[in-house]
Symmetry: C2
Subunit: 350 residues, 2 copies
């Protein structure tokens, strides 16, 4: 039996004998405020009865905590992710935890390896934004992880007992597309990343908007990856359609950079020649001439909420996982204007 | 004696008896390729002589390594830092190490706390880009750290036995300023961050350029912090000088964003009304209209080199620390034009 197992068995003995949950023993020993006097008395009586020293058990309990949280993210050179990390870090630091961040460089194998690393390090919890959703070895590893887990903006099987913080991309993109439709745009392109929740939600928002206006599905979706390379390549292909688009929505900041680069190279005037909407505001869209319309969300708040959900279950491991959905908002800017002669749609006020 | 101490003492006994360095014992036991047959024989003979089982010692050795490296950075929501992390991560992952990243949110106390955390976690090495250079508790902590340390772009006292990767900001800024001087600019502003190496180097580059052209010191330096807020505030103050500037150099990407925002708000035409140069290329400067001239470096390479210097000393702890200086380069763009009527300098071809 390792020391750690011995410590745990001490607490388990107490929990069994007293007929209470391990987490109740833990709360009493760590002086948690949410403990009834009756529970405190019962646990401490059992501790005495079994001959354990409450101070030593409490100390073990404290030692058993590493006060660190692992963060596994697809690519932290994405400014969006950097802000999520910042939000989580600030909240966890205030609560006395440290955040250990790993960068999976968009490689699903590294997601798995980083979760294993954090398991070995006995981090108290995990915050996760994995590259892929259907990564079976990762899902199996997570299902075994002992501490609480929070997943950000991904669909994860129920076998992983995780809380989730999600962005309502669907509503934001629907509003953006309705704005374009009401301007008279009909041929609209959407460039998305790999097959993860945000890609599917944005596509659904596009479909909802056409359905809400009772219009034919004259849109084109170009999925791929959340990279500048895919943004550029997809933009090039969308520009070669026989029936040209009059508006394009880029489904991430990296996709936007790649697409804008191609439009600049070709000398295409954003607004008059092609309306353009980005997702997630970054300096490049804000300071662009013309400024780029965006579907925004608060990435720091995503991180903050993830940390809060995690802290809740760290304090009370018996709590069930929770889901929080944070809003997105469409911000119209000069990059969107009614379609000009080159557009193939039939302009009409809806 | 803890298990860890026992393991170490086993290796130390062998090293002493064989009259070789601990690192040589370590190399033999870990099957390192750079071991002479003579050295291998000598170490293994001593291991047998002392009655140790080489396999068990090797296993202990392996267990003693955590195969993880700690990264302590001022603020990873800075895209520059995110690229440094990406470069380091890629190189370390290839070598079988994981990088654990912490974010100090620009708070020097968090730098210290993160180094302590990595010490407790027994990470094998540290890569560091601290908020402040003169943080005494941090320096003392680093001086005690057992593994190799690499510091990026900071001046650190010799008491810390660290390798360093530096950027040659001075040469890049000198070239940029000479370009402005040769266009006829004389009243030039430089906005820098807090008192760390890059700020001092950029200032020195500005001074060098004026000295090289034999000109009076008609420049203004506005130090502060590497933040958008400081960039905006400094830009506002520089615009209020009685003797107006004709060109401004923003000494970081965050400073640039803040300064550009103010120039946009005031409707100041970049180029004709004020020439502008940034440091470190980001999408916002590249895609700006007009494109912003920049002093660039390769941030991914900074991270790659940091990881390489660290790996060298992980393989051979007896190696002395090394310093590597990476180049910067000035890229002229349309944001720099000869000063117009509003400039106060005396235009002249140098």
């Amino acid at each position: 039996m390792t020391r750690l197992e011995r410590r745990r068995s001490g607490m388990r003995d107490v929990a069994e004998r007293a007929g209470v949950a391990m987490s109740s023993v833990s709360r009493v020993l760590s002086d948690h405020p949410d403990v009834s006097p009756a529970m405190r008395e019962r646990v401490l009586a059992t501790v005495n009865e079994l001959g354990y020293q409450p101070d030593l058990l409490a100390q073990s309990l404290r030692r058993n905590e590493t006060r660190s949280i692992g963060f596994v993210g697809a690519d932290i050179s994405n400014p969006l992710l950097a802000h999520i990390v910042r939000g989580a870090e600030t909240t966890l630091t205030e609560a006395g935890y440290s955040l250990l961040v790993t960068n999976s460089l968009n490689q699903p194998e590294l997601d798995l390896r980083h979760v294993q690393l954090f398991e070995q390090r006995r981090t108290d919890g995990l915050i996760l934004l994995p590259v892929r959703e259907r990564n079976r070895p990762l899902i199996e590893e997570l299902a075994q992880f002992e501490g609480p887990i929070v997943v950000i903006d991904r669909n994860i099987p129920a076998s992983v007992n995780a809380s989730r913080v999600l962005s309502d991309h669907r509503a934001g993109v629907q509003t953006a597309v309705e704005y374009l439709l009401d301007m008279g745009h009909r041929r609209i392109g959407l460039i998305t990343g790999q097959r993860v929740r945000p890609s599917a939600e944005r596509r659904a928002g596009l479909e909802d908007a056409f359905a809400a206006r009772g219009l034919q599905k004259t849109y084109v979706v170009h999925p791929g990856a959340y990279t500048e390379e895919h943004g550029g390549e997809a933009m090039r292909q969308l520009l070669e359609l026989d029936d040209p688009l009059t508006a394009v929505i880029a489904g991430s900041n990296q996709i936007t950079i790649g697409a804008l680069r191609v439009l600049h190279e070709r000398g295409i005037s954003i607004g008059p020649e092609l309306s353009f909407i980005s997702c997630d505001d970054v300096a490049a869209t804000e300071l662009h001439a013309p400024p780029i319309a965006v579907v925004i969300r608060d990435p720091t708040e995503l991180g903050t909420q993830a940390a809060r959900l995690l802290l809740k279950r760290l304090r009370d491991p018996d709590l069930p996982p929770e889901h929080v959905v944070l809003p997105t908002r469409f911000v119209p800017r000069a990059s969107c204007v009614p379609p000009q002669a080159m557009g193939a749609g039939q302009p009409s006020a809806a």
